[in-house]
Amino acid sequence: MGIDLQLSEEQELIGTTANEFFEKQCPPKLVREYESGSPEFPEALWREMAGLGWLGMPFPERYGGLELAMLDMVPLYVELGRHLVPCPVLDTVALAGSLVYALGSDEQKKTLLPGIARGDSTIASAIMEPDGGYGPEAIQVRATRNGSGFLLNGTKVLVACAHSAGRLVCAARTATGVDEHGISLFLVDPRAPGATIERTPNIAGYPLYAIGFENVSVAEDAVLGEVDAAWPALYGTSMKAAVLQSAMVVGAGERLLAMTTDYAREREQFGKPIGKYQAVQYLCTDIAIHCHQTRLLTLQAAWRIDSGRPFLRESALAKASASRAAGAMTFAAHEVHAGVAFVTDYDLQLYTRRAKHWEYNLGDLRYHLDRACAESGL
């Protein structure tokens, strides 16, 4: 990517292919069908995405993937956002799978990653706890030594698509405290004895669960990476996934902008299209500006990751912008649409509710603004 911050033709092609694919295969009807429903996500669509290579993008060939760069993935995630694709691509591939790839043994990778890439199985990440914090201090599920293995106790929340997941990547404390040291990652069967799984109704209509662990036994080979030392990889992988979450917000924002300007051109009040009123024009430009700034910050962060440069500050700024944009863009879209968008038949509310989930997911505005300071040496 040059300083014009434009994707290459090949990268653009990934986006246009995905856009055309989802336009046909993932209409709003499908999105609605899977709201709070069962099964958790459309398996046929999932398998088709796997067939297109989209579920193995970050993994190398020997684990069934394509080993693509962040800038190759950004256009796909823009389309996942634009079409509200009701599948755990971000959760399974960009977060849980990427944690396995970052920390796992060759054996663990061989066991899990090809299955994800082929579309045969999913894994979920169980990171957040009821405290609602994003930092290392918020990870308080305990993992205590039990013979050669561990016993897990505590609660995880907002775990996406956990019910159908073959494994959870669960962050737990192997040493008490609140700092980065002492955090480990475990591969846990969500159906293991002692694990309870409870669906939590939520604003996005997305399958999110609270998972309780009561003396859940995990074997030694279920540890991902080194005991006590998982935080840096968990943080780094989350910050990369946050860039792809930002790309999804950009895609949703582009659709919101198109919906809102279309409506402003067509809808007439006081004898003229409302898009002629500057108050309405201002709201439309707000969407465009938030969306475009988030796009640029997202592209920069992805480019820095791909080129091996430090990226944590830039990722934090991208997700901070995405989190702010998620709220601001849906607000402006509702202001322009007014009554019609308050009705569930209209598609705007599908975006509004999911944008709220994305605003929080992998760090909210407040968290990432603070990270931007921390990663700037403050």
Partner: protein
């Protein structure tokens, strides 16, 4: 400042070092000076001396063709030069000479280029702006200054206002109506006018940030026929829209872009927060201040990337997302951001920020000065105007 991929080759890295070395020699200590907000003659002298040093190296004309005093270097080198100038808080090139050089390179005749570009490159001839009028601000096409042809001359009559620092300038780029019967936008031409011509009179308009705008009166001012820049009646598209809405090219924009002043300013406030304590705690450790700084970093970074994008698009020639309105979006954003940045910085520094100078002033009183200066963000058109252009030209909303 974080570059994108400007430094991908050893040659470009060497170029960046060369620029840095020059600045370290030419600017021995940090130096904040904004020509539009300062009337101190000594500061001006130092400022012009600096730019003449830059001009002597022809870095003012880095990308211009060699036949017009330029070095013919690629645009990416200018980008790197500008990044370094911004990082060193270098005061921007005086007034609008860089814009005029762009007009000349795009629309001027060979003779006009030979006549005017050298003075701009040397920073020995300064150019002021003759666009706004008392009745024509954002709606510039409502301008009433007139020019009519009389033999081999044009005769200009009218009044221009808000000519920033024009009293330091020797020449002015003046927009005037040359066809009163044409539709508003179609009857405007641009003239290159020496400010010592008989009939030009200038009166001061002091601005609230210690600078001087000017009212300039034209009373039967006669200039030769070849003072017309570009085509007759085409100035709206060739000159004015070229300043705000047109694609940038190797000829523009100004060195040390105005919009990027925010980068060194925020860096100074960040440094201030690391060494200033309040209530026994460093400002940089105050969670509220951290939120404010993070938010400002996000704003500055987004604006910087928009500038990268505009510059990159000018090089690559690829279409931008919002077409010709992309530049207007960029401008709307930074015009709104300046006063916001100023306000939040005042909040962070706190009540001591009111003090303008002397031993109790914080950050040399520069934040207070920036706060006043930030209301000069209308220059070149208000943010509302820029948003209107974005809405109607970029988003296809009805006019």
């Amino acid at each position: 400042m974080v570059d994108l991929c400007a430094d991908d080759t050893p040659e470009l890295r060497a170029w960046r070092r060369e620029v840095r070395d020059f600045l370290q020699e030419a600017l021995p200590e940090p130096w904040t000076f904004w020509y539009d907000y300062d009337e101190n003659p000594e500061s001006w002298e130092r400022y012009l001396a600096f730019w003449r040093k830059v001009g002597k190296k022809r870095w003012t004309a880095l990308t211009w063709p060699a036949e017009y005093y330029g070095l013919g270097r690629p645009a990416i080198e200018k980008w790197i030069l500008e990044e370094e100038f911004v990082n060193h808080d270098v005061p921007t090139y005086p007034v609008i000479g860089m814009h005029v050089s762009g007009y000349l390179l795009r629309h001027g005749t060979h003779e006009q280029r030979l006549k005017h570009l050298k003075g701009i490159a040397d920073a020995t001839v300064l150019w002021g702006e003759g666009y706004s009028e008392p009745g024509a601000g954002s709606d510039l096409a409502g301008l009433t200054t007139k020019a009519h042809r009389d033999g081999d001359e044009w005769v200009i009559n009218g009044q221009k206002t808000l000519g920033t620092a024009a009293h330091f300038c020797q020449w002015m780029s003046v927009l005037a109506r040359t066809d009163p019967d044409a539709p508003r936008h179609a009857g405007i031409s641009c003239f290159l006018v020496p400010l010592d011509a008989p009939g030009v009179e200038m009166l001061p308009l002091d601005n609230m940030a210690d600078g001087r705008q000017n009212m300039t009166y034209f009373d039967d001012v006669r200039v030769p026929a070849d003072s017309l820049l570009g085509d007759e009646n085409q100035a709206w598209t060739q000159i004015w829209f070229g300043m705000g809405g047109d694609r940038l090219d190797n000829a523009g924009p100004s060195l040390g872009p105005h919009s990027m002043r925010i980068v060194p300013l925020l860096n100074r406030v960040i440094r201030y927060c690391t060494r200033t304590s309040r209530g026994g705690r460093r400002l940089a450790d105050d969670p509220v201040v951290r939120q404010q700084l993070g938010e400002l970093m996000m704003g500055v970074e987004a604006i910087r990337l928009q500038a990268c994008e505009m510059h990159g698009i000018a090089q690559s020639g690829r279409p931008s997302r919002f077409g010709e309105a992309s530049m207007h979006m960029h401008q709307a954003v930074f015009k709104e951001f300046w006063p916001h940045l100023a306000q939040v910085c005042m909040e962070i520094v706190g009540p001591m920020a009111q003090i303008q100078g002397g031993r109790w002033a914080q950050l040399n009183g520069d934040i207070e000065h920036y706060f006043r200066a930030s209301f000069g963000n209308h220059a070149g058109g208000t943010s509302q105007l820029k948003r209107m252009v974005l809405a109607t030209r970029g988003l296809d909303l009805p006019r």
